[in-house]
């Protein structure tokens, strides 16, 4: 991120500045289309929208603290079979990290994409966001107070509302691996947004948009403060989880209300299998098998294989889990999936010193091996 530029904010209107910037990217031909969160006409929901008409950017809202879908899935839909147009995609931190993983899984391409990150203080559940927007009679972007607090590395949700559990323990408020980042944490948003850019695109932006280079000196300290606070929350949450689930009985109890609807699989950006084994004939058992299982244990929960589903999904994807928490948001039974999968994922990733989304160059732990490792297996 070697090119830093100042994006001027007038009258403290951060959203207008960002809309203006995105509009210029289109108008100046740096991109020919933009994937950007847009406010729905009902103003109570925000959807990722592929925009060609710059006029539509009047309702763009990359700051809106809500995430309908992890956009890595949308970018995968757009680019999985290749992409030939210059498209800018506006992504939150966890969405970019998931996209990096999907690229490594050959489910998305970064060809001709300009990835545009935006700092994130957290997101509300969809219904909470809708409720808040209706209360405010406007889209519920971050308030002036929230942005001011963000300058000092503090996060305060709106009164009476909480960010999603996954966001409360997220130590990545700043997107990594993006071409351009629209930074407001640690930045005086009364007057500016900081644009952090990779060299090549940065030069283009400076020239074509006539921006001045600059920096936000207080940023590093504010970001470090926020990250430290989140890491503390995270470690406490992980510890609570490990205390709760510590034997077979507590493990089974943890998933007692799981109905195996597979919403988590659908919502998860990493679960990309077009044909998940759990949706195949492998799990359409003949009656004899059910009866055999009931015979063996005296009884058999129906439908079957609920804990098997959770543990299998965990084994298959947790090495790439970026902690976006969409699984938990999608779960009709309110299972604390974000916490469970992140907590377990952390130690699994540590086995390989791997951080999902950190780098395209780092191989997926499950897609590679070393000749000499894990000598404990004889």
């Amino acid at each position: 991120m070697s090119v830093q530029a100042i994006l001027e904010v007038k009258d403290g209107d951060v959203l207008a500045a960002l809309r203006g910037f995105l509009r210029q990217l289109l108008d100046m031909g740096i991109v020919d289309a933009l994937l950007v969160p847009l406010e729905l006409p009902s103003r109570d929901a925000i959807v990722q929208t592929l925009v060609k008409d710059a006029g539509k950017l009047e309702s763009a809202n990359p700051l809106a603290p809500v995430m309908m879908v992890n956009s890595a899935i949308v970018v995968s839909n757009l680019t999985r079979l290749g992409n030939r147009e210059n498209v800018g995609v506006v992504l939150k931190s966890c969405e970019m990290r998931a996209l990096v993983e999907l690229v490594k899984l050959q489910q998305a391409s970064l060809d001709n994409l300009v990835t545009i990150g935006v700092d994130c203080l957290g997101t509300y559940e969809l219904t909470q966001y809708a409720q808040l927007s209706n209360e405010l009679d406007d889209s519920a972007g971050p308030s002036v107070e929230q942005l001011q607090a963000a300058k000092d590395g503090e996060v305060i949700p709106r009164e009476g509302y909480e960010f999603r559990a996954a966001c409360q323990i997220c130590e990545y408020p700043i997107p990594v691996s993006v071409d351009i980042n629209m930074a407001f944490i640690g930045v005086d948003t009364e007057t500016m947004i900081l644009l952090e850019m990779e060299p090549e695109i940065g030069q283009q932006v400076l020239e074509k948009l006539g921006l001045q280079e600059g920096e936000a000196p207080a940023k590093e300290e504010s970001v470090a403060k926020l990250v430290a606070a989140r890491e503390k929350e995270r470690d406490e949450a992980f510890a609570r989880f490990h205390e709760t689930v510590n034997d077979a009985a507590s493990l089974v109890a943890q998933f007692s209300t799981c109905i195996a609807c597979h919403n988590c699989t659908t919502a998860c950006p990493i679960c990309y299998c077009k044909e998940c084994i759990f949706e195949t004939d492998t799990f359409r058992h003949p009656s004899e098998r059910y009866l055999m299982w009931a015979e063996r244990k005296g009884a058999a929960r129906m439908p079957s294989d609920t804990v098997l589903f959770q543990l299998t999904r965990m084994n298959h994807m947790v090495s790439s889990c970026v902690g976006c928490g969409m699984c938990e948001s999608a779960c009709p039974s309110d299972l604390p999936l974000a916490l469970i999968f992140r907590a377990v994922g952390q130690k699994v990733q540590e086995l390989f010193e791997y951080v999902p989304g950190r780098s395209l160059e780092e191989e997926l732990p499950v897609a590679t091996f070393k000749e000499d490792e894990f000598p404990e297996y004889k």
Binding site: F255, L311, N315, E373, F374
Partner: protein
């Protein structure tokens, strides 16, 4: 507890471990009858789902037997298996299940005795541990 006979499910690769087990048999080596062998072409083809299913059904131990690293019939299947087992055992441990009920051992086609000894060792250790608590878990 004295009459507890551990039940072991073993995923054995065709080229090495299964053949080694076969050699144990043809050599008339005695080993405990507690193991149910499942022949796979390569340990690289052992998806963690098979191992988890066995454990959730109540298997007291699961053995994955493959070729020694460097000798895999398919070059690197066993090396992938090694990573998958490492991940699986980490997950089991974190969730309060006993990772030492899942064993990964390298047993070549000529190591009939090693196979027999491995089974003896596994049965003894599992007898100490006692039955898999999942034997009673029907609400899964």
């Amino acid at each position: 507890m004295d009459d507890f006979e551990p039940r072991i499910v073993a995923f054995l690769c065709n080229w090495c471990a299964y053949t080694g087990a076969d050699l144990a048999g043809t050599s008339r080596l005695q080993y405990p009858p507690n193991v149910r062998a499942i022949r796979v072409m390569c340990t690289g083809g052992v998806d963690p789902i098979y191992v988890i299913k066995a454990l959730l059904e109540g298997a007291d131990g699961v053995l994955i037997g493959g070729c020694h690293p460097g000798d895999c019939h398919y070059q690197s299947g066993n090396l992938k298996a090694r990573r998958r087992v490492a991940i699986l055992r980490s997950i089991l441990e974190q969730l309060g299940l006993d990772p030492d009920r899942v064993w990964l051992r390298w047993i070549s086609a000529s190591e009939g005795k090693l196979f027999a000894d491995t089974i003896k060792e596994m049965v003894e250790e599992l007898r100490e541990k006692g039955p898999n608590p999942m034997r009673e878990a029907w609400a899964i």
